[in-house]
Amino acid sequence: MAFRLSCKEASKLISDGMDRRLSVAERITLRLHVGICDACTRFTSQVQFLRRALKAFPGPDDPEAR
């Protein structure tokens, strides 16, 4: 794996990291990229939000959903 990731490579690793354990090398290169990349920082929190949103899926008459 290249030392420097593109956003394309980083976003795939961010997604993969939600489904499998990343290798140490993957985690280090990803952290180096996300640390300096606003787009991938937002991408990370948005896909994590997607996970919370699916878990919070209400029924139609769920009183908690307004």
């Binding site: 489904d19 991408f43 949103a53 899926f57 139609p60 307004r66």
Partner: protein, 157 residues
Amino acid sequence: MQDTLLAAIQGASRFAGQSSVRTWLVGILKHKVIDGIRKTAREQPVERSDREGTEDLDALFSDDGHFAEVPGEWASPERALEERRFFEALERCLQALPRNTASAFTMRELLGLDTEEICKELGISTSNCWVMLYRARMSLRACLERTWFLSGSAGAG
């Protein structure tokens, strides 16, 4: 599969007031949903966009690997979770996904299955499964940004 899921979600209305709608969904419907997916997977040819190739994702990035459309700033995403209309938007975005991609994503995020189980149920390789989940996240993220967070819907109701 999506019909089954929608019926399940509609059926969940009878459990309004209970905190365990999700638990109920998972417990009762896990097998039904999986049966539906198995049946669908047998009967439906794999859609072009469900395949392992990532060519369709290339369009979302420039040649040097930058986002073609840079993810925007989402205003108070947590508040969206309190709005019914947000979940309607999310459902529309889910329905726009290729069938197996939506199945894989729903099994992963709503039912909490791990990718090994999902690959087995869909009869696909693990790496294909990761690609499908990646495709689902890319597509849903962009769809919600377009139809909710940057459309003026967020916080309007």
